[in-house]
């Protein structure tokens, strides 16, 4: 069967090998007989230079990450013969995964333009047919547009008691890992402390910054001045802003200072 093929792309160049790959995908043999008309930069054309209802197949090799504009799809519908086929494939140069993002809205665009039988292909493409009737016919769209969730809740229907979904075990609070009573955790020692934490807390509280430490801070690790992100858990400078080692610790007046 001899037919007319139109190959379009939104890129500047369209390799012929991609066109023949697409033709092969349409399931038609006899490659030698096809003589496709190739158009580049198809997005810029307001009108395809082909007669209406004159083309059997339109192949659109799509490069961009956006959907084809509606006008281009309308033009493709115009130039196709009745029962003609459109195939939209992504270009091998397009970004990985970019075509997947637009394929569902592309399917909607084809349906809304008037195509039927949309079919998403495994090889990252979509195929559709021009219907076998002229302007003025109507039929129900088979594909439901799922742009927003529809809540089909029957408000008269019975609901189960959601409290019955909880078991005895669910009502219990979890056992937090027993604190190791490390000094520095948030909770204070109990009044009747027996584990020795209260005595440790007293030691820590007495450990304040001495005048010597304020005047001449030095440390073996060198992290005291870097800020709380770097300080050891027992560092006496915790809570203070960062400072330069060896210099006097200046408690600045800005809003970040800890007013101890």
């Amino acid at each position: 069967m001899d037919g007319a093929v139109l190959a379009c792309t939104d890129g500047a160049v369209l390799p012929v090998s991609q066109v023949f790959d697409a033709i092969r995908e349409l399931g038609n043999g006899g490659l030698e007989q096809w003589d496709p008309l190739v158009l580049t930069s198809a997005s810029l054309l307001s009108k395809l230079p082909v007669d209406s209802s004159s083309v059997d197949f339109v192949i659109l090799i799509w490069l961009s990450i956006d959907c084809p504009v509606d006008q281009l799809i309308q033009e493709i519908l115009r130039v196709l013969k009745v029962d003609g086929t459109i195939l939209i494939r992504k270009s091998s140069q397009s970004a990985v995964g970019s075509f997947d993002k637009i394929i569902s809205s592309l399917e909607n665009k084809l349906l809304l333009a008037g195509f039927t039988e949309p079919q998403v292909l495994q090889s990252a493409g979509i195929k559709a047919k021009k219907p076998s009737w002229k302007i003025g016919s109507s039929f129900a769209l088979k594909k439901v547009i799922r742009s927003s969730p529809k809540m089909q809740i029957d408000f008269d229907s019975d609901l189960i008691d959601e409290d019955s979904l909880l078991t005895e075990e669910d009502l219990k609070k979890p056992q937090l890992p027993p604190g190791d009573c490390e000094i520095g955790s948030t909770r204070k020692a109990c009044k009747n402390c027996t584990c020795g934490r209260a005595e440790e807390e007293e030691k820590v509280l007495k450990l304040g910054l001495t005048t010597e430490q304020i005047d001449n801070p030095q440390s073996a690790c060198g992290n005291c001045g870097l800020g709380d992100a770097f300080r050891c858990s027992t560092c006496p400078y915790k809570g203070l802003p960062a400072f330069k080692l060896g210099e006097k610790v200046a408690l600045s007046g800005n809003f970040l200072a800890a007013d101890i």
Binding site: K101, S157, I160, L165, S185, G227, S233, A258
Partner: protein
């Protein structure tokens, strides 16, 4: 089509934690080349659930065990009895819950959802995970092992989802993810060309709306523009100074237009950020505060394409959308910062914080200390991040919700709030203050500052005048009940009204007895709280004597009066701190029902639960 199936990640977030965990899940999926869809529950049609192959739910539980707002419709759909036991046959699912074990109903939403999905025939991928904010490492202590199990099990049951396998070693050479947002800079010659024709208030409204609508952290249910602006007319202390508490009574007047509200409603206030903090942030990040920007999501879908985006000044965007000096950043900020750190010791430290080994230290440094973004950036001076990443990772500035403490019938043009000014000392002995309460407390009524606000329904429905009430509200829990009593006092001038019993509690009689004169005046001379009318006002001072006296002790003393009102069909309202008070007060009610009727404790529990089911037992609590 088989090949197009994706892992579906649904989150139901109330404060942003579930969204944060779900986004982390999606990043890990992306690194494993797993195709996924990430959606809020209210963006998904539950009737499509049987067609999914695998679904991951990340759900929060609000304070009272309620489902998050975005999940209510979805959950109601799932509870339909006519969904059969094989409705989800063949669907794999996993549930991770975020909760706080200091509340009574710990992770109830996740537990119920897990059970319901199983009852509908779904198959679990992994056992449900329950995150607990009270854990020494926060909810991530449960999330880390749960995620490892999830990927391992998913690889076993659905290997096509994970073509690279469950374990992906992120090499140093791997690029970080792309930022979610795209910043467009605009060259606008006339500074105020977009706003100059409008009035000052409309201009401020448009600026706030523009800045907040473009922020990627905005949830779908948020309204960007303030509902109205209020002007503060009174700022009164309710507590004696140096008593250990600072509770203020604020009175606001409507400025733009008067909105209707009811007692029990909630007012959300957008706090103003410290100008010095915003300036310091802009300086620290080398931003131009006067440039005009628009912010959009990188993967812009068709909906957003048609939005009109008004460019705003960068400083306006930061001031109204990004919380730089109050909220703590998420763990992901440290991971992204490690890519931009040029100093070696900072990069190593940031990577350590972002790793599972450093999780506890990060929790101590960041969450426990309530570190702010500005403080983190100052601790790592070599990090210079693009503004795109800052927009994505700095926590969004959130409005704070307060119970309205006035009745519009009594104050037609005003809204009153009762606010505890929050301040505390961190484990490292640094002083911290609440952003919104401190900002409100520092407002001077003479300044005429316009406060952006939104009105919302709260958890306490407005009672009708003929309904007897039993109110329990210690501390600032009394705030909504001040409005209740004002409203009923107005109503009682024209009609007869049902009585109110109110139990209030505080520390000391002379220190923090909030609204003392208001309660006392309404409990005398046949006021709406008076015993002569069948009501009553009872106070528990917990620290005025050696032994503790709380509201539940006062309730037990009035056991018979409470039961008489309950028998008349009274409604119970409880408001206040969420730690132990609601549980103790509920137990007191159960004891009263059991004692006055000589029935068993189980029967009393059932009775109280039935009261809750028919909408006459309400709790509003906050941490």
């Amino acid at each position: 089509m088989k090949g197009m199936r994706k892992l579906l990640i649904l989150y139901a977030s109330q404060t942003g934690n579930a969204l944060d965990a779900a986004e982390r899940l999606s990043r890990e999926a992306e690194r494993r080349a797993c195709p996924f869809n990430l959606l809020s529950v209210d963006q998904y049609d539950p009737s499509l659930l049987p067609q999914e192959e695998a679904v991951i739910f990340v759900v929060s539980t609000t304070g009272q065990g309620d489902t998050p707002d975005s999940m209510k419709v979805f959950w109601r759909y799932l509870l339909q009895r006519n969904l059969g036991q094989r409705w989800l046959s063949g669907v794999l699912y996993a549930v991770f819950g975020l909760g706080d074990s200091s509340y009574q109903k710990y992770n109830f939403v996740a537990k119920k959802l897990d059970k319901r999905l199983m009852d509908l025939g779904g198959t679990t991928i992994v056992e449900r995970g329950l995150g607990d904010d009270q854990h020494p490492s926060g909810y991530e202590a449960s999330l880390d092992p749960w995620l490892s199990s999830l990927w391992r099990m998913l690889n076993m049951v659905k290997p096509e989802f994970l073509p690279n396998g469950p374990d992906v070693v992120i090499q140093d050479t791997v690029l970080i993810d792309q930022p979610k947002v795209r910043i467009t800079y605009h060259n606008i010659a006339n500074d105020e060309s977009h706003f100059s024709s409008a009035s000052d208030l409309t201009c401020l409204n448009m600026q706030i709306g523009s800045a907040r609508s473009m922020h990627p952290g905005k949830s779908s249910s948020d309204r960007s523009r303030p509902g109205c602006f209020l002007k503060m007319v009174k700022n009164l202390p309710l507590t004696r100074s140096n008593c250990g508490k600072d509770v203020r009574h604020f009175e606001f007047e409507f400025v733009s237009h008067v909105l209707k509200y009811e007692t029990g409603d909630v007012l959300e206030v957008l706090p103003g950020q410290d100008s010095a903090a915003v300036d310091a942030f802009i300086r620290r990040c080398n931003l131009d505060p006067d440039s005009f920007i628009t912010v959009s999501l990188r993967e812009m879908d068709d909906h957003n394409t048609h939005d009109s985006r008004i460019p705003v000044k960068l400083r306006t965007f930061v001031e109204f959308s990004m919380d730089v000096a109050s909220a703590s950043p998420r763990r992901y900020l440290f991971e992204v910062m490690s890519f931009f750190a040029t100093a070696e010791h900072e990069r190593e430290r940031l990577k350590y914080f972002a790793s599972p080994e450093g999780r506890d230290d990060l929790y101590q440094y960041n969450q426990k200390e309530r570190r702010t973004v500005l403080e983190v950036l100052e601790d790592f001076p070599s990090v210079q991040m693009p503004f795109e990443w800052l927009v994505q990772l700095v926590p969004p500035l959130k409005p704070r919700a307060f119970s309205i403490s006035s009745s519009q019938s009594a104050h037609p043009n005003q809204v009153h709030l009762t606010v505890n000014v929050v301040s505390w000392t961190t484990p490292y002995k640094r002083k911290k203050k609440g952003l919104c309460s401190s900002w409100l407390a520092a407002l001077d009524p003479c300044d005429g500052i316009h406060v952006p606000t939104w009105f919302h329904k709260g958890l306490l429905p407005t009672p009708s005048p003929s309904l007897p009430l039993i109110l329990v509200g210690p501390g600032t829990g009394c705030a909504p009940f001040r409005g209740f009593i004002e409203e009923r006092a107005v109503q009682s001038r024209t009609n007869s009204t049902a009585p109110i019993i109110f139990f209030f509690g505080c520390w000391n009689e002379d220190g923090d007895f909030l609204y003392r004169d208001f309660w006392l005046s309404h409990s005398q001379n046949k006021g709406v709280l008076s015993e002569a009318k069948g009501g009553g006002f009872y106070v528990a001072f917990s620290r005025d004597q050696p032994q503790k006296v709380y509201v539940q002790h006062k309730m037990r003393e009035q056991s018979q009066r409470i039961w008489n009102l309950l028998a008349e069909g009274a409604a119970v309202y409880i408001a206040g701190s969420s730690t132990k008070m609601p549980a103790d007060v509920t137990s007191a009610f159960e004891e009263i029902v059991s004692y006055e009727n000589e029935v068993s404790a189980e029967d009393a529990v059932r009775w109280i639960r039935a009261l809750e089911k028919c909408g006459k037992f309400h709790i509003e609590a906050w941490s």
